[in-house]
Amino acid sequence: MTGPALVLVLTVAVLFAAGFDLLMQRSLIRVVVGFMLLGHGANLVLLLAGGAAGAPPLLGGGSKRAMADPLPQAMALTAIVITFGVTAFLLALAYRSRRLLGEDEVQDDVEDRRICAERRRGAWDAPPERHDPLEEDE
């Protein structure tokens, strides 16, 4: 593996590690930044997939061997547009969430919390009335 490619590989590794770490935080803005880092990492992977740099890939220009592969670059461009649009949406969502909830954190799921709480109370071993309406009827 040549020098520039190795640097890119390391960059991808760092971007992915940092991105996934940020993604697992509770603060929404960190999640958004994490997603952006991941997007950059994925685009670099696409770029890496194209192989070494070369001459501009124009029809009728120079030998085939020296040309850069244009296909991954076209894909990376498309992917950049998509991640850009989605990041804008995520930011709007984070802003809306802050306006509506008054805080910038991902909340727990209510139903999950209810089931956990009941479990902790031992409600599942001896169900309370509302959990056992079937037997009530008999």
Binding site: V31, L48, I82, L93, L134
Partner: protein, 507 residues
Amino acid sequence: MNVLLPLPFALPLLGAALAMISRRRRFWLRVLAPLVGAGAVAASVAVLVAVARNGVVAVQAGGWAAPLGITLVADRLSALLLVVSSTVLLAIMLHAVAEGAGALDRRSEPGVFHPAYLALTGGVGLVFLAGDLFNLFVAFEVMLASSYVLMTLQPTAERLRASMTYTVVSLTSSIMFLTALGLTYAAAGTVNLADLSERVPALPAGTRTALGLLFLVVFGIKGAIVPMHLWLPDAYPAALTKVTAVFAALLTKAAVYALIRVETLAFPREHGSRVMLVLAAGTMVVGTLGALANDDIHRVFSFTLVGHIGYMLFGLALFSVAGLTGAILYLVHHIVVQATLFLVSDLIQARTGETSLHRLGGLARLSALIAVLFFVPAMSVSGVPPTSGFVAKLALFQAGLGSGRPLAYAVTGVAVLASLLTLMAMARIWALGFWRPRPEEAGEPPAAEPYTRGGVRVMQAVTAVMVAGGLLIAVFAGPLSSWSARAAADLVDPSAYRRAVLDGRAP
């Protein structure tokens, strides 16, 4: 042919643009959106007819020859799923239009629903037609980006929380999709599926397995395969019910379709098959047990959805014609039935204002029609004969028992058990929601729905048509199975697919 193939997704996308421009004119939207939906159904049927006549149909968009350009392909599997999905999408659209037009509270329908819904229709169409991985990625993004918008309609605190989880999880899997795609290109030098199916066998075994498993993870997250399902029962119930119906019917199924397509075409049969069998068994058990533990109807249905993804994965994991036939039948059956269940729960919600089982009751007395409309798809999803679920499950069980592999026998046993558990979950809804008298804590039911009488009638009629559609699948099980069997044979031996795409390939 060049014009026909892009229509199932181009038409809805064009409609989405039109609807976006005129999103303040409610009446126009309510006419436009179902018309475009009907157009998409017509185009899908035309594709189906073309496929029935000519076999695999392929178009190179933009005139670039196969491995380089954007390829659109329709074979038996994609044509069948196109027709089923566009029909279900149209039905849910009609339901939503009736709900919007019939609402007594005029503020309740956001104008952005129709354009987002049409864009989602387009995205789903493109997923089924995409002939290369990158186009598949773009199709998923179109579909999911519209789903993020639909998910966050009329945001409450609860809905916003759920949609944040949903969006972030989907996006993470999309990034992984992109990465897997880059790695595939680096390894094989192409992302065209037909081209991949020729080049992948030359790769080292380790690379093949790694890529195959990476795609399993990507589509596993999108399709809610245990243990990557945790986002789904959290997110889906929080959306508007009509939106949940679309999501449950199509988003996870699109991922399952992509998984079937990619794993059969690009990655060798034997790799990952054992992993998939184990995952399938886990998905069935966790999903159906979750359905039994939950109290909210939407959550129960969401967990059944997870559980039943396991059946489709089971069919794929067998990698035989019989198994894939079962998986395809199951896809078709489940798209229709799962959408119907959520539409029924929308009716329940309209009638009682409740979705929580411990506060529901006496529905059978309240509305016999809703009871019937719930009973039929509930039996179908549990696989009771003579419904469509029974047909699909029977095909899968036969494939499992015919495979001659001990692990497949075990998973078949788990599948039977999961069917019983599903039946239990449905019986629980029936006993608590419909059969027992209304509990005291629930108070009196509202005197009438918050919709006009006509609106309710149309919503009920649409649901009834969907129920009938589910029954029709059982009635036409014969032709459907033989079509699915031929589609599965095409998947196992992709030479026709390859020929259609790669003839006249670029040098």
